[in-house]
């Protein structure tokens, strides 16, 4: 739908149209408006296909866009791997840029006056950093050295998720963390951090012993599968929790706005606006909360996994 933002939403498909806003797109969008074409990168038939834009791709004749996705002209099937730079990738870069600038400014001041009290932006960053360091990582990762070594990961994780959540709340912004692929990638890394950190700390043997769940050996046929499922379930839960929280708020907002079209009257607007403001504020809280929860749960899981055998 994003290609035609000016089309009057018909009552029948307004929700579908609004929901499609939440997805990923080929192109950089602010709100429903496309600002930039983004390059298409396809891996297909054993070689890489690079196009500066979807238009250029269609002109080249091998692929065409169908419902926002490139497909082969020849048989109408999607390519083996679509590695295109999409809207949410650009939003990640935007977020990284913002965090980078903020941290750069803070670090510059730390370098200039390492012993002065922090102020302004530096103070806000320092409060978050100290909180993540002491309350999230060191409090939950029992192994001190492991905590120190993984501190950069946890700090980056928190700020990455936070800035992406907040970018989604900026009017016109798209929420990268409201996509399963993004949260899935973060959860995958968390999975490797949790188990890799545990193996590095307590050794492979002790890590495998964790799979017994502390039960007797004859229970292992039941416990080992459960523990293995649990291992993946933790990462899966991280992935879905963040995705669902970020998406749910947006859907609630869209639904409230959609009510106006659903009832076809402007009289419902005050109710929609009042509830939207409430949900929007709630989402702001959730943006911080979910960044915190993802980080602290990863730390807690890492702490549990890297414990010496009970």
């Amino acid at each position: 739908m994003s290609a035609q933002p000016h089309q009057t939403p018909a009552e029948s498909n307004v929700f579908t149209q609004l929901l499609e806003e939440l997805g990923d797109h080929h192109g950089f969008y602010v709100g429903p408006y496309k600002l930039l074409d983004l390059p298409i990168i396809l891996w297909d038939n054993g070689r890489l296909h690079l196009y500066p834009s979807p238009t250029a791709m269609e002109q080249a004749g091998l692929y065409r866009m169908v419902e926002g996705h490139p497909v082969r002209v020849a048989d109408g099937k999607p390519p083996a791997l679509d590695l295109s730079i999409t809207n949410l990738v650009v939003y990640q870069w935007l977020g990284m840029l913002l965090v980078g600038i903020a941290l750069w400014r803070a670090v510059r001041r730390y370098r200039a006056h390492p012993l002065r009290p922090p102020r302004g932006l530096q103070n806000a960053i320092e409060a978050l950093v100290v909180f993540i360091r002491d309350e999230v990582v060191f409090a939950n990762v029992g192994h001190q050295r492991l905590g120190v070594r993984l501190l950069p990961y946890f700090l980056t994780l928190f700020f990455f998720i936070l800035v992406l959540n907040l970018l989604g709340l900026v009017p016109g912004g798209h929420t990268a963390t409201g996509s399963l692929a993004v949260t899935g990638a973060l959860a995958t890394i968390a999975f490797f951090v949790i188990n890799g950190g545990a193996i590095a700390t307590i050794g492979l043997k002790n890590w495998l012993r964790h799979l017994l769940g502390g039960g007797p050996l004859w229970l292992s046929p039941i416990l080992v599968p459960i523990e293995i499922i649990g291992m993946f379930a933790k990462a899966f839960a991280l992935c879905v929790r963040l995705f669902a929280n970020m998406t749910a708020g947006h859907i609630a907002l869209l639904s409230l706005v959609g009510l106006i079209f659903f009832f076809g009257t402007v009289l419902i607007a005050p109710v929609s606006v009042a509830f939207s403001v409430f949900v929007y504020l709630l989402e702001t809280l959730v943006a911080f909360l979910q960044a915190y929860i993802f980080t602290i749960l990863t730390a807690v899981f890492l702490g549990l996994a890297s414990e010496e055998t009970h």
């Binding site: 590695l83 990640q92 965090v99 750069w104 730390y110 990961y153 399963l180 692929a181 890394i189």
Partner: protein
């Protein structure tokens, strides 16, 4: 399936790449200096607090010492004053006694001297009176005169004596 529920491998790939790069870059250029600075400042503050505590204790100790010294000095001063008073009193008493004694001595000497002078004067006077009487008598003996003449003679003698004295 709605667009937003898709699990796009491309987006996943880019997210992995972005995030891992972000971790690497931030770890090197942001977190390390930031955490180091934090630690440095925490050390600095802890050190400053420790020093402040040390300084406070030192100051307290010095104050205590100063107060002790002051008290000692006051006690010393009072002792000195007391002693000085006693000494002064003793000195005064001694001096008074000495002066008294000296006075008595001088007085006695003076009285004795006076006595001597008086005695000498008496003896001189006596000798002179004797001489005068002798001289007068001698003159009386040398001239046998009437009573009028005696009278005149004695009167002239007395006048002479008066003139001489």
């Amino acid at each position: 399936m709605p667009n937003f529920l898709e699990l796009s491998p491309g987006l996943m790939f880019w997210t992995l790449l972005n995030f891992l790069l972000f971790v690497a870059v931030l770890a090197r250029f942001a977190w390390r200096p930031l955490l180091n600075a934090l630690e440095q400042r925490e050390h600095h503050i802890a050190e400053a607090l420790r020093q402040a505590e040390q300084a406070r204790q030192d100051a307290e100790r010095l104050l205590q010492e100063a107060q002790n010294r002051l008290q000692e000095a006051q006690q010393e001063m009072q002792r000195l004053i007391r002693e000085g008073k006693q000494q002064a009193e003793a000195f005064l008493r001694e001096a008074t006694e000495k002066a008294e004694q000296l006075k008595r001595q001088k007085l006695e000497e003076a009285q004795r001297e006076l006595q001597r002078q008086v005695e000498r004067a008496y003896s001189q006077l006596y000798a002179e009176v004797v001489d005068l009487v002798l001289e007068g008598t001698a003159r009386l003996l040398h001239q046998t005169l009437d009573s009028t003449t005696h009278r005149r003679l004695v009167e002239s003698f007395l006048a002479e004596v008066a003139r001489q004295n």
